[in-house]
Symmetry: C2
Subunit: 466 residues, 2 copies
């Protein structure tokens, strides 16, 4: 965690930006797996962590915009608890570290909020993504479940985004650590995979690296020979010579910051010729996108630059035809690249996604598209210095999509359906890295991991000889 002053400054600005009323930030609860007391690993809500800094379950923070008073409400441990958990620092002592001197038992929340509502004061909260936040807010405010679901404060959301958007230098230090651990996970996967292994074994290996580094996964591991399935969490296949592995994984470190990278590598010591061609195309698109990163450019435009580069490579290979710019303008490239170039990253791997993509990734002047492809681009707005983003172009050959579009003769002027048939079992390729936007361009986060064909093949060669 950062200095006390950092948190005080953040809260002062937040209260000022919101203006008036009470800001209520709900910390997360323990999350039950298959019965109440069997828990997934605890993850504090990122905004709670950002402003309140205490990573314990079942806390609520209330910041009073009018009086300027901040408090954390929650229940201290009893001796019965301590038998099970060991001695723990008190909520009061942890809150004091972020400059919050007032704490109280959670039984006071309801009275506090209901009194405020009676006095005509506004209660600001962000959209709940865990159902217990909905029922708690409903009980505390006397509002119905439906009123809570649609009652989020746009003023609060915007105020939080305006701060968390821009990562400070102390946050960049944390992000470098998170991506360093992420890099180590990727290198481990490339060095570990052998023909005959199950995907689960390689997934287990990268998970081990994250946990041994005192991290967690920032999202479920994608480790698959079927990289064309964008969110593939099945790890039951056995990998063989000739397959490619798409590994999309990242670590989250104890301070809450995330990394998110993807590498695609051959199970054999070398890519096949077909694999190499498309891999190089994705890498070219990746590099074109990185070169374009700087304050002022819309990320949507960076996305489109990458799409054109993908279309050029796909045209050279003969899977697309016609003019690449025109193909992208028409949307034909979405046969291969159905999703977006990247997203914000920070304490959340899709940073602030719980606050809503329209406000996080877009703006009053740039709304999100509803077209196939662009509708999956999470970030479109103008980049600013201090934004942290992922760049992750890919080529995904999805047999079901080929069949459907071929039947419709869709984009027939740009797509070579005949050749596509022979690529149906190709799979998918993605290359992903994380960047912070600087005054003039962008800096890579974390330790670089092999990404050229030559460098990747070198690691695979060594791995297969060991």
């Amino acid at each position: 965690m950062f200095s006390k002053d950092t948190y005080i400054r953040r809260r002062n600005r937040l209260r000022k930006d919101v203006g008036n009323g009470l800001i209520v930030l709900l910390g997360n609860e323990e999350s039950s797996i298959n019965f109440k007391d069997n828990w997934y690993h605890f993850r504090q809500d990122s905004s709670f962590l950002y402003f309140g800094a205490v990573a314990l379950p079942s806390l609520t923070a209330i910041f009073d915009c009018d009086s300027g008073e901040d408090m954390i409400l929650g229940d201290e441990l009893t001796i019965d608890d301590i038998v099970w958990t060991g001695p723990q620092p008190s909520i009061a002592s942890l809150a004091a570290q972020s400059g919050i001197t007032k704490t109280a038992p959670s039984s006071q929340i309801e009275t506090l909020l209901k009194n405020a509502i009676s006095a005509g004061r506004h209660i600001h909260f962000i959209p709940p993504y865990r159902e217990e936040h909905v029922t708690k807010l409903s009980a505390w405010t006397g509002k119905s479940i439906d009123e809570i679901r649609s009652g989020e404060s746009i003023a609060l959301i915007k105020a939080i985004i305006s701060q968390r958007n821009i990562k400070t230098s102390e946050e960049i230090v944390e992000l470098h650590k998170a991506v360093d651990l992420t890099s180590a996970m990727h290198l481990a996967a490339m060095q570990y995979a052998k023909p005959g292994m199950k995907e689960a074994e390689i997934a287990a290996r990268v998970n081990q690296v994250a946990l041994a580094g005192e991290g967690q996964l920032s999202f479920p591991v994608i480790m698959t020979k079927n990289g064309q399935v964008l969110h593939n969490h099945y790890h039951g296949n056995t990998i063989q010579e000739g397959d490619m592995i798409l590994c999309d994984t990242g670590a989250e470190i104890p301070s809450g910051y995330a990394g998110d990278m993807t590498r695609t590598f051959p199970v054999s010591a070398q890519f096949s010729e077909t694999q190499r061609e498309l891999y190089q195309t994705v890498l070219n698109a990746h590099e074109v996108a990185i070169s374009a990163l700087k304050p002022g450019i819309r990320y949507k435009d960076v996305h489109l630059l990458a799409c054109v580069e993908l279309a050029k490579g796909l045209t050279e290979v003969g899977l697309m035809k016609g003019n690449p710019e025109e193909a992208v303008a028409a949307g034909a490239h979405t046969m291969f690249f159905q999703c977006g170039l990247g997203h914000m990253m920070g304490m959340d791997v899709h940073d602030m996604e719980n606050l809503g993509e329209p406000l996080v990734g877009y703006s009053d002047t740039l709304k999100k598209s509803t077209e196939f492809g662009l509708k999956s681009l999470r970030l479109g707005k103008e980049l600013e210095a201090g934004f942290v983003i992922t760049v992750e172009p890919g080529i995904y050959i999805i047999p079901e999509l080929i069949d459907q579009w071929k039947a419709e003769n869709k984009y027939a002027e740009f797509l070579n359906y005949d050749k596509l048939e022979s690529y149906k079992s190709f799979g998918g390729i993605r290359i992903e890295e994380d960047f912070v936007i600087t005054e003039n361009g962008a800096d890579l986060l974390g330790k670089p991991v092999a990404k050229t064909v030559k460098d990747v093949e070198e690691i695979r060669k060594e791995a297969l000889q060991s």
Copy 2:
């Protein structure tokens, strides 16, 4: 999963036992970590899996006790979903595998349940442990949140317990697999730990074994040099010569069955004399308990036998005094053994804990004690052939408890507080295995893992030489 007939038989018996009305089993949802679409690994509800057998999120099963009709309600994937998830078997095809031929979209649930309620029919559900089940049931039935929280069906709970209590031979096969994987995790930990490692590195290693074996953890790993903290999930300490590691971990296999074992081993190649004495005491209590396992004995009595054996050993060492039986009758042993000897195990590591300990672990004639120690014994009732249970005695030296009881001069006739002072940094020891109760006794589940002093030290010696 088992044969279609197994599931049909289970549901026939369930409907008959419940008698009338509609049984509604809610499958689990994806569980959000820090924003809606970032999920912990999916875990289906165990009762849903036991009777419905489909391990997909967002499903609901309705079994009609009056008509005998069973159905699963949920929404099939669209082509947009398939781009992200790849082609998946349909709900209908999966349901058919367990003999459920009727499926419908989830939009029909509300009408179905409200019509049934209007017709005066009873809706049976089990106590929700995930909040979204509360709000869904409330919306579907028109009952308030509070009515849902207290509206569980005792008839349904009892009917489920009466089946899941007794593990069939096909379930025992699965449990052996789960405990085999659990055994492998423990052996890996003993072979891997070295002085200078962080606890997190060893925890990561056992997690790797579970995942590489295509399992999951059945509960969060306890891997600590502070074994006296019963539920210790902190992994930040560095282990040193002279420390003991308490490793309490288990795997869950894809069929949903769990393992749960504990081993305590020295970081050095050998236990210290002090460690060896108390380790042997715990092992003796473990063996005494195992020898007592058979149908007809109350598990509470097995627990008390183990407690007396612990008290005997602690008396020999000089930490307790007086008559061990009398000490246990008075409760003095709870200074060292604050919890229970074990619990039911099955698809849940604490099997059916979501159905409530009073009904799962106790009976109409044996109620749970409220005394310190016994109130933490999850299982007290008479054992029956087919029960699967854990046996996990321990000795935990908790400095905070010593200070508190010493100040109260509690159990002074049985506790040697002077000697206890010198044990304050001792830590904790637990030895845990899993058993199925047979017609005449009990069988160990899974491959045996070293547990005698000699066998444990042999593995540690090899580990430190490698």
